[in-house]
Amino acid sequence: MTAIALRPPEVVMRLQRLGAAHPTRLSFLRQLIRRATREGWRVRKDRFDLDDHGFGHAVYAVETPARTYSLVAFSTPLDDEKRSDRVIAQAWDTSYVLYDGLPDVAEIARLEANAPLQEVGRFTSRELVLARANKSVRLFEEVASALAQGQQPDEEQLLGVGYLLRTTAVYGNGKFGIADRDEIASRPELSGSFQAEMLTVWLIRSFTLDLVDHIAHRRNPIGAARLAPDLRRALGVGNATGLGMAPFLVRHPLLTHSWFLARETALARVRAEPHAGEMERKAFLQALTDLRRRVTRWYSDDSRQAAATRLLADNLDTLTENLDQLLAKPHPWDALYRFAEDRFSLEGQEACVSLLLEPHGALVDDLGDTMKADETPGHAIDGSVTCGSLRQALLDSYSWAASVDFDDPAANARFWYVSAEKLEPRLGERFEEDGAELEQPLATARDALGLAAALAQEPASNRLADFLLHRPQWRHAARRAQIVARFPYSEIHDNLIGADLRPVDILRAKLAFFGARSFDPRSDRWLRIALFSGEPLIEDVATPAPAGAAA
């Protein structure tokens, strides 16, 4: 087998490419679906106590080999004027927790008093995830009405939106008192990145579909239709994601490295394959056909994304036309990637990465287990190194930033801060707004170059530990410098405080690792996506457990 070099960080970690990321078979929701299938998980609706309007609560229990987890869902009335995707909202149509075990009546009552309050509620280590979702109001009502009249909803309209409800936050890792990540990290079924969160969303998807069926049935108990199985499987769960998620990739450099390294290793393995087998060709063609169909339904009002999507459609047409001759070449998958690299947009190239991985589960799926990180090794600073050697390491790792002039106001235009009102990350205009003195340490390139300049003022043979003793303001940058030198995919190779920064690029990269599709930027700072659309329903994969069975 010919070894193929990994695409280097200077190619992979650019914001524009991050902003063109596509989900792959290594994405976290795909990993979850594979595990549930492999391990024969079982799911059942343990409770479904909703009134004629769909208000009340439901419990969906999932039995994994070792443990039972439950989605506890609450559906409550909400005035239209209070419905907002923004994190500033204070009430939602539905709220959820993923519960560790099966809750009894007292536990459900406790959760009912807290889950609808979200951030204002208080939670315990029995809750693993906290989430909420709003109805896509017009569509939800149209679907309920059609079903109540015994008809199926308009397919194009339904799949053009792609979901009935949209989550606006899915919290894990100890937020508002829920269980710490450390408490579940050793459980095989939840040890991978964001597996508890993905399980929650997978269950929410089934709840949203059951909810609309329930409301239609209550409106017309005799004549209502149930949402057709193919439509159920095509629908996902929407999600609105904003700046709150943006700093994550910066604050978790070792984890970020592990995600990108796995994906790039998978791509290199596929490109190194000498031949394309018949099964792989068929699977590739199927994935390509699926993606082309999805692209026709990928709507966005964002002119940039709309143009990128049109170009992607053209790229996929070109790929289809050239597929036979590309796959006839030696190292056909490498030829295909190179073809894309030469001719396609970034969106087209990254879509091809996803397509290339799709037929090669046996070759790449083991890499899913590597997409997690103990971040402890990143905490320590090796202070025995000299100032000169750290400076050189910085200049090497951040050579891409050497051309950025941070004295230019455009390069230094923004600052990240935490809002006093919402305690969420925000992006301010440094030269137009107050608060820059409270800037969060997310100006990675500026701080790296600043540290290099400060080190240049020291005798090169001085120890870093002594430098940091009298210049503690550089401690975070020194720590990061040593991480970046060891973990090359840990750093985004772009200025995160420039006037031209589009935070949605960072968000899209992270969401693609989750498995998101249908990226729809609503501004440069937040976007909507869909999760699980077109993927199996949990009840397809996890054999329904008999009602009343012991959990």
């Binding site: 935490v418 707004e433 937040w526």
Partner: protein, 193 residues
């Protein structure tokens, strides 16, 4: 009492430390050390509050003292208590040679923090100190391996201490203006369809 997750303990402590004037990098270290204290002692909040309230009264180790430590020479106390955080950071970043151990350091302020910071190294304090001990001479000695993190614990805190820590954390937040309310999170697009 309010039961915090350890992630909340770490996040709150790091913010409060930053609000009290510690650098971002040291605040990260303090957050992790607070987590360590919280799994062992339910009064972790008082220790944290004491640290941030006294942060400005400590001083960093002076170069002549650190040289003495590395050379195994006797320590000489300074006018003000040593900052347990900056002392620990130095020891962690560049551990003293084995020949300098055990190492006696005089007049360490709130030494429980030095102890907590060293948990992730192969050094430790020879004698345990009380959570609220304001000042002590400490002896640093080697140990075989760093302690493994403990999981499955929570960090209880009383409301008054929590409020006091939150007020330090709040010093890191930026108040919203009308402009930032509209722009800061993403522009004024309609999001309710």
């Amino acid at each position: 009492m309010i039961d915090l997750s350890l992630n909340e303990v770490e996040t709150l402590s790091a913010k409060a430390a930053r609000g009290a004037g510690f650098s971002w990098g040291l605040a990260e270290d303090i957050g992790r050390a607070a987590r360590q204290i919280a799994v062992e002692d339910e009064n972790w909040g008082s220790a944290m509050l004491s640290l941030v309230e006294n942060a400005q009264s400590f001083e960093a180790p002076a170069p002549d003292r650190t040289t003495r430590w590395r050379n195994g020479e006797a320590d000489v106390a300074a006018a003000r208590p040593l900052c347990p955080i900056r002392t620990a950071a130095l020891l962690l970043d560049d551990p003293p040679p084995a020949s300098a151990m055990p190492l006696t350091i005089l007049d360490v302020g709130l030494p429980v923090w030095l102890d907590a910071m060293l948990r992730r190294s192969n050094m430790r304090m020879a004698r345990p100190v009380g959570l609220m001990t304001p000042l002590a001479d400490v002896i640093i000695e080697g140990r075989a391996a760093a302690m493994q993190p403990i999981t499955g614990r929570r960090g209880a805190i009383d409301e008054r201490t929590l409020a006091a820590l939150n007020s330090f954390a709040a010093k890191t937040y930026v108040p919203e203006s009308e402009r930032s309310r509209v722009r800061g999170a993403g522009g004024g697009r309609v999001d309710d369809e």
